[in-house]
């Protein structure tokens, strides 16, 4: 943009910023896509005023590349707006409308002020049009980024939520917990565990908390509830995977784990479970060096025999 064009555009914007702002905000609030349930006139007016000021600052520099440094502040206003709207659940067009709705009032203004200079009017109109288009697209882009962040966060939460119940052996279930345990999640964990106990008729359930980063009184409470519920279903629970720090925390918090069996590792817990079922793991005379034969699994399985009573 040439310096003189930029200057005259700046002049026009500065000339009656208040009136321009008012018509712009009126347009936004009056448009059918205005979400009165998500935002207020006050909020829109606030954003609009800040953006208009920054826009004027940026235009004065004469730089049309909106990624250049004079546009930093204007971009920041748009960033904030798009991010906020993405979180609040606005649609992309509703968000982009913020910038595009400035066109109409601005062009009206140009037409009125430059009625005697059609040449300048045409230049300014096309310049401003191009500029606002880029800004609108930029808004949409930021909006998309905001949505992507929301999706990523939800994915993360989902991952934490999924807790498989695995069968270690006939009658032995394991529940490897990963991520923080809150009330809602404990409920899901408890329900799926109990359902699996019914389905599989398991008599021992091992709750492995290796993947639980911290244990506070609430988490301990949830664990104890799960253990109590499993006991009511006729299954014994073993808590395994207690890290040294967590053991310290549990004792410092004064949490009473009562009669619950606790083990440091899942292997220890599994050994106890097998013993309870009257099973034992034996070492066969010569362990094969490599898994090079089919049916090797069968050999391993046959080494797990019931001990003679």
């Amino acid at each position: 943009m040439a310096k003189d064009v930029a200057a005259s555009l700046n002049d026009i914007l500065q000339n009656d910023q208040e009136a321009l702002l008012r018509t712009w905000v009126d347009r936004q609030v009056g448009s059918p896509g205005f979400r009165s349930d998500r935002t207020s006139r006050q909020e829109v007016a606030d954003h609009s005023a800040r953006f208009l000021t920054q826009l004027r600052e940026a235009i004065r520099s004469g730089d049309t590349n909106i990624l250049a440094s004079p546009w930093t502040d204007a971009r920041r206003v748009l960033d904030e707006l798009s991010f906020a709207r993405a979180q609040q659940g606005f649609s992309p067009s509703e968000t982009a409308q913020f910038v595009f709705s400035l066109k109409q009032p601005l062009f009206e203004r140009l037409r009125r002020d430059l009625v005697n200079d059609p040449g300048l009017l045409a230049t300014l109109t096309s310049e401003a049009d191009a500029l606002l288009d880029t800004l609108g697209l930029y808004t949409t882009e930021v909006f998309q980024r905001g949505r992507e962040q929301v999706i990523m966060r939800q994915q993360q939460e989902l991952m934490e939520l999924s807790t498989p119940v695995v069968t270690l052996w006939d009658g032995v279930l394991a529940l490897p917990l990963i991520g923080t345990l809150d009330s809602a999640r404990t409920q899901v964990v408890m329900e799926s565990l109990l359902q699996r106990i019914v389905d599989s008729g398991a008599s021992i359930a091992i709750i492995d908390i290796t993947g639980v980063p911290t244990v506070d009184t609430l988490t301990a409470q949830h664990l104890l509830k799960t253990v109590a519920a499993a006991r009511l279903m006729g299954a014994d629970c073993i808590i395994s995977g207690i890290r040294p720090q967590i053991a310290q925390t549990i004792v410092h918090l004064g949490v009473e784990l009562g009669s619950v069996i606790t083990k440091a590792t899942l292997a220890d817990a599994f050994a106890i479970a097998l013993r309870r079922l009257g099973l034992a793991v034996q070492k066969t005379a010569a362990a094969p060096a490599r898994r090079d034969r089919e049916g090797e699994d069968r050999d391993v399985r046959s080494s797990l025999d019931r001990p003679e009573n």
Partner: protein, 120 residues
């Protein structure tokens, strides 16, 4: 069933029924010299704190009358409710189904028989 009593709760328990059950059960334990009581609650879909306490009471009464008690067939939803109500039924033995319950009962009574024999 021999020296065992099987109590199967098939209908939704209301308070008066629960009291009647307590009276009947204690009478029967004495009259048949029962050594074990199996309470099957697999048909019970809803529990409140009263029923929860009643189950605990039943077990305690049977114990006083020298009979082992096992509660079997509790549904997951019922188990969660009882735990949320703070009634973990401490001191009540539980098993997944009637079969397991009978095994448990036999083992307990055998063990007790051995203990008594050892003491004499």
């Amino acid at each position: 069933m021999g020296e065992y009593l099987l109590v199967s709760i098939q209908v939704d328990m209301h308070d008066r029924l629960a009291m009647t059950l307590q009276a009947d059960l204690t009478d029967r334990i004495v009259s048949v010299h029962a050594k074990g009581v199996l309470i099957d609650i697999s048909a019970l879909e809803m529990v409140d704190s009263f029923i929860g306490r009643m189950l605990g009471d039943l077990a305690a009464m049977s114990r006083v009358l020298d009979a082992e008690t096992v509660v079997v067939g509790m549904r997951p939803a019922v188990a969660i409710t009882l735990v949320e109500l703070g009634l973990a039924l401490k001191g009540v033995r539980t098993a997944l189904n009637v079969e397991r319950g009978m095994d448990l009962l036999r083992n307990r009574i055998d063990a007790r028989g051995r203990e008594d024999a050892g003491r004499e």
